[in-house]
């Protein structure tokens, strides 16, 4: 059954991967992957990957894989190829959560976890065009699975399991050095097991023997993971013991993107946000079923750990449960504790979604099988199925902008607009551009064929060429004075409010919420249609905001 579901997911990926837009980070990751491949093909003489933007501080494992995949996928263009790869890797993540659910609570829980994650709109939406958070989350899910398997085999996990665990953690590290947290989890699990075994025997000799074993396992897995991580990270290869930690230190205080954003009823800088940023986003962007079952699972898990965790026969399930809980709650709590600047919803914490879903599925299945009456169990399964079907319907309605999903606790997408970030990644821009093209064809057909249209907006002109013909061009390529005919604006940085006096000709809408608007600037004076003119005429900020938001540095860099 799970294989059939996975096959259906794969077919959906193959059918839809071209429909997802190019996001901000992708062009740079494509270039970084190319530079890493050049590092190898030039015999380590092409050092472009060692200094490339800020990317050199990230492992480029996925980017290198992308470069290889693009070479195989020729003549498919770079962005579609990388979207296809993202979709395939995302399906691998689905498989990982299925295995994790199975390892925790059997095949039924595994299947439920698989279905829940597939229908999790935020996860599905990120699979295709998020070259960092999504592959990291996939490697994180597989690492957790192999860690659960290794816990089941303690005190002597098989070499095969440890090798797979090392590869999975290494792949996570090769996307983000924050994967070190997995090694911390492993150390904690091994340490707790050794302490428990020694406590049972009341023997220092037993403690020493178990600690030696734990150290050997930990050192072996760490060494293997480190080696895998270095393959895709040329900068770290030059000083493998120091540079990854330098990167970790720099990434922990990452403040390159300072931006204002809506949050609840305010408009805040991302370094001003409080502890409640992530709880808000997880609370409103997690499907209701997953959220409720996660709460049930957390309470049940804590109670189970307190009641039975110390018993010898329960030590392995307890460790697995503890690992799952830590993998969900420790990273966000640590980010709050460190006061890390946060933005783009919980995109950077996408990796906690698979364990979250796994815990929710385990709790859901456990609750249902505990029902005594057969009809009650049937009714509970039917209710679960109905909620999942509803989620599928929402996902289809949002397609291909599943990342903007908000649950009914806030009133869906329409309820979130103005209060939270929706399309922070520019996924709606292609649909807006195609809408503009369709509008022009329908309304100005007699001049369409002989016209070149210049647009501005918070988007990459080059990326848009994938979706619309080349008579739609960035205003930067206009001969003479650089002014625009149309403005395409999504909601991030209040890009949609630019050119307030221009008529709107098209809007990208989902579930009653406007995500992107196209404005016709051609009737305005030319001085209003330049970037300088646009900045001058920005509408006044909302009362709650201290200052008018501006297009962030990052967006300006590629705008148009």
């Amino acid at each position: 059954m799970a294989w059939v579901w996975l096959a259906a997911a794969l077919v959906t990926v193959l059918a839809t991967f071209r429909q997802y837009g190019v996001t901000w980070d992708e062009a740079w990751h494509l270039a970084y992957g190319y530079r890493i491949s050049q590092w190898y093909t030039s015999g380590f003489t092409d050092t472009g990957a060692l200094t490339y933007r800020i990317n050199y501080l990230y492992g480029g494992g996925y980017d290198l894989l992308g470069a290889i995949f693009r070479a195989i996928a020729v003549p498919m263009e770079g962005f579609p190829a990388i979207h296809l790869l993202g979709g395939l890797v995302g399906v691998l993540g689905l498989m990982g959560v299925w295995k994790l659910g199975r390892a925790l609570a059997g095949p039924r829980a595994g299947l439920l976890a698989l279905v829940m994650l597939t229908l999790h709109p935020v996860w599905w939406g990120h699979m295709f065009n998020n070259p960092k958070d999504s592959p990291f989350a996939v490697a994180y899910a597989w690492s957790l699975y192999y860690m659960v398997v290794a816990i089941g085999e303690l005190p002597r996990p098989s070499r095969g399991t440890l090798a797979k665990l090392a590869v999975a953690i290494g792949l996570a590290l090769s996307v983000r050095i924050a994967g070190l947290i997995l090694l911390c989890f492993l150390a904690l699990v091994l340490g707790l097991f050794a302490a428990h075994a020694a406590w049972l025997r009341r023997s220092w000799a037993a403690l020493a023997a178990h600690v030696r074993r734990a150290l050997a396992i930990g050192a072996g897995v760490t060494a293997g993971a480190w080696a895998v991580m270095l393959i895709g990270w040329p900068w770290a290869q030059l000083d493998p013991l120091t540079r990854p930690f330098i990167a970790l230190r720099r990434m922990s205080s990452f403040d390159a993107h300072q931006r204002k954003m809506p949050f609840a009823d305010e408009y805040l800088w991302n370094y001003e946000i409080g502890w409640d940023y992530l709880p808000h986003y997880f609370g409103f962007q997690t499907p209701e079923l997953v959220l409720v079952m996660l709460a049930v699972g957390t309470v049940w898990g804590v109670a189970a750990l307190l009641r039975r965790g110390g018993r010898p026969e329960h030590v392995r399930p307890a460790l697995a449960l503890l690992l799952l809980g830590m993998s969900i709650f420790v990273p966000p709590v640590y980010a709050v504790y460190k006061g890390s600047p946060l933005y783009d919803g919980y995109r950077h914490f996408l990796f906690v979604v698979p364990p979250m879903v796994a815990l929710a599925a385990v709790a859901n299945e456990a609750l249902i099988v505990r029902l005594r009456r057969r009809w009650a169990r049937a009714a509970a399964w039917a209710l679960t199925g109905a909620l999942l079907l509803d989620l599928l319907a929402q996902s289809i309605r949002l397609h291909p902008h599943q990342v903007v999903y908000f649950n009914r606790f806030i009133g869906g997408v329409a309820g979130a607009i103005g209060h939270y970030d929706t399309d922070y990644y520019g996924n709606t821009n292609p649909e807006a551009m195609l809408g503009m093209q369709r509008w022009l064809w329908d309304n100005e057909r007699e001049t369409y064929l002989d016209s070149v249209y210049y647009f501005t907006g918070c988007l990459s002109g080059k990326a848009m060429h994938l979706h619309v013909p080349s008579n739609f061009r960035s205003f930067k390529t206009r001969p003479g004075e650089q002014y625009s005919d149309f403005s395409v604006g999504y909601l991030r940085d209040r890009c949609d409010t630019r050119f307030p006096d221009a008529p709107q000709i098209f809007a990208v809408e989902r579930d009653g919420g406007v995500l992107n608007v196209v404005k016709d600037l051609r009737g305005r004076p030319i001085s209003h249609r330049t970037e300088k003119g646009a900045r001058k005429r920005l509408p006044p900020p909302k009362p709650a905001a201290e200052a008018a938001p501006t297009v962030s540095d990052k967006d300006q860099e590629v705008s148009g």
Binding site: L10, V74, P75, R212, W441, V452, S470
Partner: protein, 309 residues
């Protein structure tokens, strides 16, 4: 109702679990697993030897283990198990108060325990005798098939529909090279389109054969920098004259059902170079790239008048 064989296997599995718990525990001496391991062997012998014909000495594993199980785990594993069992029996027979050496290392006892576990699973019928590589090969083949279907590398192996003749001069004359392209959608910027063709002052002539199933009013659009022209069956449909800036021009042609020769001439003088040719075969839709399935490449020489005949 449990049969005698199942009962014996259950005993063997319990003894094996106990042996495994001891062997994997770093604080236990491996020799302390001997008792459980020999117990598991004895129970296994009772389970697999028919009608209670259990040999007195089970140390010669190859003599009493059914051929089916021996074949499933392989002769090497049988030999290794046979080598380890006498040492385990000797350890169990040794009185606890008598000192004595134990010839097996921890790794050997672990390997012995693991193989015995395999054997028990096979005897129970839980482990498939077929090696796992079949399943893995099937998964790998399925993954490769998906990848192939997704990536479609035969696109590069088959002939692309547009025959491009690339000239090293801007007037479609002089030295030329042929390359087959999937679409006319190029943004060369200030680069040369291919080796031996300069970045400035070059030209390209693309030919293809367009298939139409029914009479159609076709709309063609050419967007280029510098100039371009689109001909259908020798008639000029789009004339896009420009130098140094991007310009879009369109044109219509009423075409009968059948095969039509489409020719695109593009010339680059200086500066940036790009060209895109689109078409619409339904008046409700704006022009889009022409689907390669509607086109095929001409097979004859480059200078034919009608290469689609």
């Amino acid at each position: 109702m449990m049969t005698e064989t199942q009962r014996a296997l259950t005993v063997a599995e319990a003894a094996h679990r106990a042996a495994r718990a001891v062997t994997v525990d770093p604080s236990c001496e491996p020799r302390s697993a001997a008792h459980h391991l020999v117990g598991a062997w004895e129970a296994l012998a009772r389970a697999v030897c028919l009608d209670g014909h259990v040999p007195e000495d089970i140390s010669a594993v190859g003599a009493w283990l059914p051929a089916r199980l021996q074949a499933a785990i392989g002769p090497r594993a049988v030999a290794e198990l046979g080598r380890g069992l006498p040492a385990l029996q000797a350890e169990r027979a040794r009185p606890a108060w008598e000192p004595g050496g134990f010839p097996l290392a921890r790794g050997e006892v672990e390997a012995h325990t693991w193989r015995l576990g395999q054997l028990l699973a096979l005897a129970r019928g839980e482990a498939a005798p077929r090696p796992k590589w079949h399943k893995q090969a099937a998964i790998a083949a399925a993954a490769a098939a998906v990848l192939l279907i997704a990536v479609r590398p035969w696109w590069t192996l088959t002939l692309q529909p547009w025959r491009g003749t690339y000239y090293a001069r801007s007037d479609h004359s002089g030295k030329w090279q042929i390359r087959y392209d999937r679409q006319i959608d190029f943004d060369w910027g200030r680069d040369a389109p291919m080796d031996d063709v300069p970045a400035d002052r070059f030209s390209v002539r693309w030919d293809s054969c367009l298939h139409l199933d029914a009479p159609t009013k076709a709309i063609f659009q050419s967007i280029s920098d510098d100039g371009s022209r689109v001909y259908v069956d020798g008639d000029l449909v789009v004339l896009n004259r420009t130098r140094g800036k991007t310009q879009s021009r369109g044109g219509e042609a009423q075409l009968e059902a059948g095969v039509h020769h489409v020719r695109v001439d593009y010339s680059e003088f200086t500066g940036d170079a790009h060209v895109q040719v689109l078409a619409s075969f339904d008046a409700n839709d704006p022009p889009k790239p022409i689907p390669p399935s509607m086109l095929h490449a001409p097979r004859g020489p480059a200078d034919e008048d009608d290469p689609c005949e």
